[in-house]
Symmetry: C2
Subunit: 160 residues, 2 copies
DNA sequence: GACAGTGAGTCAAGCTGCTTTACTTGATGG
DNA sequence: CCATCAAGTAAAGCAGCTTGACTCACTGTC
């Protein structure tokens, strides 16, 4: 149980600040753990790519939209991932210049590992929070997101 | 009131994802509003600098520590802010090569404006959340931060 | 009172991940 | 045909940081 602190800055902190701090800490911890199991050569954005492609293969322009970057940037990311054997560029069934991005087994393996790490982390966080469950936090966040977006969720991007 | 949606992805989303999304949305909204009142030439990191210097002037090495960057990077940020008239480098009372970074009135004016924008934004968010108050969200975030940090808060940095 | 050590600051170069601009390539409709 | 359009690629540029190497002012030590 956390002892009461004098001069605790957190209760007075802005919501925005709390959000940033919490996100940074959780993501950093996630990164560290992913690196610790030997998957440190992939950044979170690569995980995002894998998650997007896992459901259904898309073209790199669609990927760019989903990531919220230019198609050139998406192309560079794909170049890198292709070079390292995580994705392939297959000819698109609809023809044209399009290419379908498909995941290799290496990518799916990473996705599985990263998913386990993430769930373990969140479970640990829930455990360590003795009294407070994470549920109200989740619903609060979801409500906040809803009020700021309307129906469709924008791409998750670095904003700093 | 938000209608119930079919296939709402939010309840199934990872906590980490919710945090990132919420932070991004709130910060983007804050940025837009700050830009809308004509203060768009300053990024959040500059606001962080101003906040740090407002309490008590520090040297640029201390600033670097607080920001979590190298002292060269802090120096570059200060160069920029000095050029644009937001900070001065005053001789340090303790002598040496040190210089004290002090805010100009322009910086304090920005700080006041940005503070108002931030509080207005958070108040609006609270209002729009009809039933749910933001209080449980704040306490949940604070608890999460506490379990991840121990006593002293690390610098708030881009982590993507 | 020289003199190695220390810590703040600075100069310069390099790197990463993106953007902007400009182009090529294949499909489509008049 | 050919104008047009969308997907993709190529090249250059840029912002914001880092690493490495240095200068300068002060500190102790003998």
């Amino acid at each position: 149980m956390n002892p009461v602190r004098r001069d605790d800055p957190l209760p007075e902190a802005e919501l925005t600040f709390l959000l940033g701090m919490a996100f940074q800490l959780v993501l950093a911890e996630f990164n560290d753990r992913v690196a610790a199991v030997g998957e440190g050569d992939l950044r979170p954005v690569h995980g995002m790519v894998f998650q997007l492609l896992a459901r259904t293969p898309v073209t790199s322009s669609e990927l760019a939209e989903r990531l919220g970057v230019t198609k050139q940037a998406a192309g560079q990311i794909v170049d890198d991932l292709e070079r390292r054997g995580y994705v392939r560029r297959d000819p698109h069934p609809a023809g044209g210049r399009r290419k379908l991005l498909v995941l290799t087994d290496a990518a799916r393996a990473h996705l599985a590992v990263a998913g386990r790490v993430l769930h373990t982390l969140e479970a640990e966080l829930a455990d360590r929070q003795e009294g407070a469950t994470l549920a109200p936090l989740r619903t609060g966040l979801a409500a906040l997101i809803r009020t700021l977006t309307g129906d469709d969720l924008p791409p998750l991007r670095p904003v700093w």
